[in-house]
């Protein structure tokens, strides 16, 4: 089954770190990504640019509304995601717990709605 791991974290957290700490933090993500690859479970994933670069789009009664900023204004923002394919939720949670983001923010684990289940 596919699961989306969404990393929610305070973007100011990374900015506060000194350079050496920052590169250690980023290296942990690199190692984690490689571990997912080597386990053969990684289907996709990326780090996202900060939420202040977001634009939110709504269409209401034929009118398109564009807003600067993320959908929800919260201190912790979606900062990146991994899409993994593992046998069950237990396995997905085990990978989520290893994600460096779980240590400084929170990782939300959501099962993907497979097309055939619609």
């Amino acid at each position: 089954m596919e699961y989306l791991l969404m990393i929610h974290a305070d973007p100011a957290g990374l900015q506060r770190l000194r350079d050496a700490e920052k590169s250690t933090a980023l290296a942990a993500y690199t190692a984690y990504t490689e571990a997912l690859q080597q386990a053969g479970v990684l289907r996709g994933g990326s780090r996202l640019r900060t939420a202040d670069t977001a634009t939110t789009v709504r269409v209401r009664e034929g009118r398109t509304e564009l807003l600067n900023g993320p959908y929800a204004e919260t201190r912790e923002q979606l900062g990146g995601y991994y899409l993994i394919d593992v046998p069950d939720l237990d396995a997905a949670l085990a990978w989520a717990a290893r994600c460096p983001g779980a240590g400084h923010g929170a990782v939300e684990v959501r099962p993907v709605w497979a097309v055939c289940e619609s």
């Binding site: 984690y32 490689e34 571990a35 237990d90 085990a94």
Partner: protein, 443 residues
Amino acid sequence: MGRSKCGPCGLSVSPEHHAAARAAETTARRSYGKLVALLAARSRDIAGAEDALAEAFAVALADWPHHGVPAKPEAWLLTVARRRLVDEVRRRVHDERSAVQQLLLADEAAEPALYELPDRRLGLLFACAHPAIDAAVRAPLMLQTVLGFDAAAIASAFLVAPTAMGQRLVRAKRRIREAGIALELPATDELQGRLDAVLDAIYAAYAEGWLDADGTDARRRNLADVAIWLGRLVAALLPGEPEALGLLALMLYTDARRGARRCEAGHDYVPLAEQDPRRWDAARIDEAEALLQQASRAGRMGRFQLEAAVQSAHSVRRFGREVDWAAIEQLYAVLAALTASPVVALNHAVARAHVHGIEAALAALDALHGDARLAEYQPYWAARAELLARCARREEACAAYQRAIGLERDPAVRRFLQGRHEEALQDRVEAGGEGAVTQAARR
């Protein structure tokens, strides 16, 4: 204590209410499992017993502030909970002479509240670790039925979604009731095998608690303490079983080093070899040593006694003595023959490095390469990396460190591994011809 109805109600403010809430809380903590075991002894309906007990705690919180805490709070709670069970049966079966009801009333008559309540918790533990119960749910089931932890707290500790954990616990209890699993000590010829399952489950709970080295997560730290508590319970109730003593000794040896796994100043991880033995809990180690000696007098060796003996060999550093790696290597050799566990094989390989050299250890690790059970096991990759770095196979060492870092859950251990990885990388720079520069910088 997880179950909401057992905790202080939080609504009342008068001193009497506080005293009642405290008495209920204390009784719950001390005798939850004892009461569940007694209530479910005949019906085998653990869920029903827990519900009845939760109601009894609620009644106690309402009653005790007005009438005072009874002289024997456990017996009081047992009587109220039993009445609830009888009422429940009455609601379901509209027959005053129902067999279950008669049994429940007979239980009450047989145990007048004047006497000390018998301790049937061991029977409950054996039911939780019954072969018909899925091995992964045995430890969670013990924590819930014997100690009253709620599903959410257990779920976090075992890294299982709370709803899924709740369902698994419900299913396991239904299985005990429907399959008619007895809440009793197994027959002598069965006892050995069944006891192993009980001890395994307790150790599983301890191992989950042990992962939280920071001790920042109260639930986790609690879990290691709770596992030791369960270990003490089993050792006290079965003092003639050397493996029960061995497990308790093993948990005490490692728990004695809990604080020493973090540096005094910050949150940095300190591996066993670099720990300051003065920061170990000497009283706990002494207790473990005594338990292990007591166990060995039975003359029946087993997995937990062997693992405890390994920890004993490490603990001699507190007397300023060298760790006896030859003994550890031999202990792991026996354990490997006994258990066929890949983790034991890994520890055996690491011990070989100290006795037979790094090449021999790496050869042993190579034999494990490709074992699916180790592919996602961080300590395997960390051990491999360490050995490779020490015999200057740096490229491979770095790859193994990287794998270990990606698999680690604990941020402090991850930082530690990243530090080691960095050292291995710097050595590679030296090998590439810039050694002089690096050497100078180091000086």
